[in-house]
Amino acid sequence: MTTAPTLDASRVELPLHAAEVPWRTVVWNDPVNLMSYVSWVFRRHFGFDQPTAERLMMQVHTDGRAVLAEGNREQMERHVEAMHEYGLWATVEKVER
């Protein structure tokens, strides 16, 4: 028989709150992909409605980049891989705090 270990509360790592997760998926402008296609990919992959997808696509086009998602690193890498499958230029980056 054994006893439950004593937990040192100061060493227990709590899961990050959604608002604190420090990674994001960025899509960059490129001169090749069509605006209609980019908007379609944003709707298809991220599930955005048409106005949101259009707004983010225009942000990529005019600002050169847009943040498409925030979350943990593994999730962001999966988004980036999916964007690369669609031929979009996407990167993972750490959220500056």
Binding site: V32, L34, W40, Y86, G87
Partner: protein, 164 residues
């Protein structure tokens, strides 16, 4: 070729045999590039940089680690999109009259992806680097192919988006 129409759950377009032969040739070049890239050929690796960009911009170590984990699988899936693009075109190419290609939704998405990858590689050859470049002055016919592929991809977006 006049564009895709939705028929039930499928998407259908009629192509000239000569159009199909051009598209097959492009698709096969793309497949070859992926095969050479998987084999580690440096010229193919260079040509594929636009299709397989780094996942980290300012962190070479993270970018290298990600390449190690993801690059092979990505190339294999992209090779699958290229094959899904060329295969349905073979019957059209072998015909003597305009012939229909019929795609499932998944097939249509594979076509959009393969066409997008072809445009990225053509853009590299045409020196298209900023918005507004049209690739004039590239190899004979390349700018026209680039524009034709754009039209096809846009047409697929349109038909997949059309209310059913």
């Amino acid at each position: 070729m006049r564009g895709f129409v939705a028929e039930g759950e499928r998407y259908r377009a009629i192509l000239e045999p000569a159009e199909a032969r051009i598209l097959i040739s492009l698709g096969e070049q793309l497949s070859q590039l992926y095969a050479d890239g998987l084999a580690g050929d440096p010229l193919a690796e260079q040509a594929l940089t636009r299709v397989l960009p780094d996942a980290y911009r300012d962190d070479e170590e993270a970018a290298a680690e990600w390449r190690e984990l993801s690059r092979r699988g990505l190339i294999e899936r992209k090779a699958g999109f290229a094959a899904a693009f060329t295969e349905p075109l073979r019957a059209v190419a072998d015909s003597t009259t305009p012939t229909a290609v019929t795609l499932t939704e998944g097939g249509a998405i594979d076509w959009m992806r393969a066409i997008g990858d072809l445009r990225l590689i053509l853009a590299e050859r045409l020196g298209i680097v900023v918005d507004g470049d049209e690739g004039q002055g590239g190899p004979e016919g390349a700018a026209e192919l680039y524009a034709w592929l754009a039209w096809m991809q846009d047409d697929l977006v349109r038909v997949l988006d059309a209310p059913r």
